[in-house]
């Protein structure tokens, strides 16, 4: 994606740099060009269209679910996808898919937004909830495990929840609103945490092609600031509060850094993604072997999928199960004795897991 050059020295030209007709209404966060609203919409939408076409993300006739949280990324994604689908005749059947993690004061409010989106954009909506799938809401989970590892639980559960919702809708693909800032943060996080295997995968625009549902990220090169700008000018309806548990997330470090970086050099965000794509990572680097979970049949590289491991931990009152380095206790089979001997088994009544079938 070739973006503009350095800041033009004389910003005194009073016209939009693209059409040279209208007055500029904003400075593009990505390129710092002065641009009018109409041109901004065009450029924004066109760049996304080029990403979709250039990376061959979709085929005509596909059923595609849009991961919708009610936040700005997914709202703009739903809006732009339906718009481009119409304008360029992608021939796609679009749906909205939402996940209810059970976080009061956050998710219950944002779900209202998604329900409004369903009406506004005319896209059928399906909501899957943690309570239904796993028997636990995030609020309940946090009460048990505290504020340190809750993002791990939520992320793992959400990934599976989306897959199950997608299977219910019988869609061929899932699109999510991950933007350039998100991917850049993930690249940095993987470097900081020593996860080379993830580092090699996290910049792919399409992932999980060999899994149940391929997912793609049309916003891979779209700046978060531009998405906000677009939503603001188009007056799109979205829910703008952060998850109430997020201040403790480690991702916060990377996010702060990237925000500061963007102020100095906007193109650094895309440069990080480019670096991530170009890292020399040997293809013989130990990649996890793909199998299925013994408990629920979901895709997994271990005997049990991560969601089942975490759930087992929750239900047995062992909140640290599945967190941190594997110490051999994770594998569900044959090690139940060890777990019971391990003392500390609180007497939480084993909660009935929700149906884990497709």
């Amino acid at each position: 994606m070739e973006e503009g050059n350095k800041i033009p020295k004389s910003a005194s030209s009073r016209l939009c740099c693209r059409c040279n007709e209208r007055k500029p209404a904003l400075k593009r966060p990505k390129t710092l060009e002065q641009i009018c609203r109409k041109c901004f919409y065009e450029v924004f939408e066109e760049e996304i269209h080029q990403v979709i076409v250039g990376n061959q993300l979709f085929k005509a006739g596909e059923r595609v679910a849009i991961g919708a949280s009610g936040g700005k990324d997914s709202t703009v994604l739903a809006y732009v996808m339906s718009e481009l689908n119409r304008r360029h005749n992608y021939g796609l059947d679009l749906f909205l898919l939402s996940v209810d993690e059970g976080i009061t004061g956050y998710r219950d409010d944002s779900l209202e937004t998604v329900k409004r989106n369903e009406v506004q954009y005319g896209l059928p909506l399906k909501i899957v909830s943690y309570k239904e799938l796993y028997g636990w809401t995030m609020d309940e989970i946090v009460k048990v495990i505290g504020l340190k590892n809750n993002c791990t639980f939520c992320g793992v559960f959400r990934r599976q929840a989306l897959d199950r919702g997608a299977a219910y809708l019988k869609v061929d693909k899932l699109v999510t609103g991950h933007n350039a800032d998100d991917i850049a943060e993930t690249v940095l996080l993987n470097i900081l945490r020593g996860d080379v295997a993830r580092l090699s995968r996290c910049t792919s625009i399409t992932t999980g092609e060999d899994g149940p549902i391929p997912r793609c990220k049309p916003f891979k090169y779209t700046y978060e600031k531009e998405i906000v700008m677009y939503a603001y000018f188009k007056k799109l309806d979205y829910f703008s509060t952060e998850c109430i548990y997020s201040p403790n997330a480690y991702r916060g470090f990377a996010r702060e850094f990237i925000k500061d970086l963007e102020r100095i050099r906007p193109r650094a965000i895309v440069d990080i993604i480019k670096s991530g794509e170009n890292f020399r990572i040997s293809t013989s680097t130990k990649m996890p072997e793909q199998g299925t979970c013994e408990r629920c049949g979901y895709i997994s590289s271990q005997k049990w999928c991560k969601a089942c491991v975490l759930l087992e931990g929750l239900n047995r009152g062992l909140p640290k199960l599945g967190i941190g380095r594997s110490r051999g206790l994770e594998n569900g089979n044959g090690n139940r004795k060890d777990m019971e001997q391990n003392g500390d088994v609180r007497s939480i009544e084993s909660k009935q897991c929700g149906s884990l079938d497709f």
Partner: protein
């Protein structure tokens, strides 16, 4: 995001360290048996005799665990392991130590000297005098023309450095002061102006910072090759490398990152070796303090722009988790190095067999066959082929050809954007930099030839 490889919140390696310490029984000398806290133990964990460096629990982990001697031995051990396992310094070498006066280069100089002294003693003690002692020189790059440092400050610093180097004898070491303008070989009077104009042509703050760093490296290479040195030792430590990893990522240099962070970097005319790669800045600081090694800080240690942002970011991460720097370097270490990240096999008979064997063992096996890399003429990083223009499209204008051969990062942050400024920039460059870009192609051909030499029948490269 499930994390299998060590959760950030639980300081895994620290916890392991703590577990390790707890298992070592330590005789308490007069202090309470009840208090099992490491920081209250009265003796060094290693020798169990001397008190730790800071026995009040006030210092960092290492200072509370080890006594001065054991700490120094540990640190020197890391240095020596790096040197011997990568055959960084062999008896026939003439080693140039890049010296900035800072902590890391001071320790590098000290350790190289200690090693040289040891070799000298062995030489004098041996009957047949079979193993010669490697030579050591010291080089300081004087950037006073391009940085805002007063001449007096620089003079004073140079005098201090001279005396430091004099004290590190025998064996005697030559001290080279390398002014930035030495890059221009013409010896004409306007070289200072040319240099000032060249630096001034770079607008971007970070770009200027990086450009100065590249020029510093070229100056070191020049003095090394002109004075017959065979290796260049840099004091790059874990902490600096961690910052470089983030910096390269942020500047779009992910492809070339693995080239810069290995123990050996042989893409330069005088190969660069990093014996302090496994030592953190904190350890080096402690050593300078306990051994009273004098250090000075001429160059601004708080750069502006992106580099400054990165060093404060890494510092913040380090405060949150003291092993973060090592993790970053370890991650980057898993990236595939290049074929030039190992020293060419030594064919010198004067090198002891043990060294040769060790070198063979540790030489990184290239994952792929030697590919001919193109190198950016400014920063010397390998350029990915897709970033280079197709050949023949820009031949007519040398400055355009030059600009096109640079890596995308240098093109953005160092080279001027408009044609006329670029032309001027090109004219101001030192001749060495310009002609270098042509030599690399021949080197690659030579390397290929070396591989098939024994099967070549004709001596010439022509098809006759």
């Amino acid at each position: 995001m499930a994390c299998n490889s060590g959760n950030c919140q639980s300081n895994c390696s620290q916890n392991e360290q703590v577990a390790q310490d707890d298992s070592i029984p330590a005789p308490t000398t007069g202090s309470d048996d009840g208090a099992n806290n490491q920081q209250q133990q009265g003796v060094c964990l290693k020798c169990k005799v001397s008190p730790p460096i800071s026995s009040g629990g006030g210092g960092s982990g290492d200072e509370a665990r080890f006594c001065g001697d054991c700490f120094r031995t540990n640190l020197f051990g890391k240095f020596r392991l790096a040197v011997t396992s990568h055959a960084m310094i062999t008896p026939s070498d003439n080693v140039l130590v890049a010296f900035s006066g800072g902590v890391a280069s001071r320790v590098a100089l000290q350790f190289v000297h200690d090693m040289q002294q040891r070799a000298q003693r062995n030489y004098e003690a041996s009957k047949d005098r079979s193993l010669p002692v490697f030579g050591v020189g010291v080089a300081f790059v004087d950037e006073s023309t391009v940085c805002s440092i007063s001449n007096d400050e620089v003079e004073e610093a140079i005098q201090e450095m001279k005396s430091t180097v004099l004290e590190l004898a025998p064996p005697v070491k030559q001290f080279h002061v390398v002014p930035s303008v030495s890059l221009y070989s013409s010896g004409s009077s306007d070289e200072k102006d040319r240099l000032m104009k060249l630096i001034g042509a770079v607008d971007d703050v970070t770009g200027k910072d990086d450009f100065l760093m590249h020029l510093r490296m070229w100056a070191l290479q020049k003095v090394a090759s002109e004075n017959g040195y065979t290796k260049l030792v840099l004091g790059l430590c874990t902490s600096k490398i961690a910052c470089h990893v983030i910096a390269a990522t942020v500047k779009g240099q992910g492809y070339s990152l693995s080239a810069d962070i290995q123990y050996v970097d042989a893409r330069w005319q005088v190969p660069i070796v990093l014996p302090l790669r496994d030592c953190t800045a904190q350890e080096l600081n402690i050593l300078c303090r306990i051994d009273g090694l004098k250090t000075l800080q001429l160059v601004n240690d708080h750069p502006s722009g992106i580099n400054g942002l990165i060093s404060s970011f890494v510092r913040l991460l380090q405060e949150e988790n003291p092993s973060r720097e090592s993790t970053i370097v370890r991650t980057a270490g898993k990236l595939t190095p290049f074929h030039f990240n190992r020293l060419p096999e030594i064919n010198d008979s004067s090198v002891p067999l043990a060294t040769l064997r060790r070198q063979k063992r540790y030489n990184l096996k290239p994952q792929e066959s030697i590919s001919s890399e193109s190198f950016c003429p400014i920063c010397n990083s390998p350029v990915i082929n897709s970033d280079l223009p197709s050949c023949g499209s820009l031949k007519p204008f040398k400055f355009r050809e030059f600009a096109a051969s640079c890596c995308p990062s240098c093109q953005f942050q160092i080279l001027p954007q408009d044609q006329s400024s670029m032309k001027e920039f090109y004219s101001l460059l030192p001749e060495g930099l310009v002609s270098r870009s042509k030599h690399k192609d021949n080197d690659n051909l030579d390397m290929l030839r070396e591989q098939v030499q024994d099967c070549l029948l004709s001596n010439s490269d022509d098809e006759t």
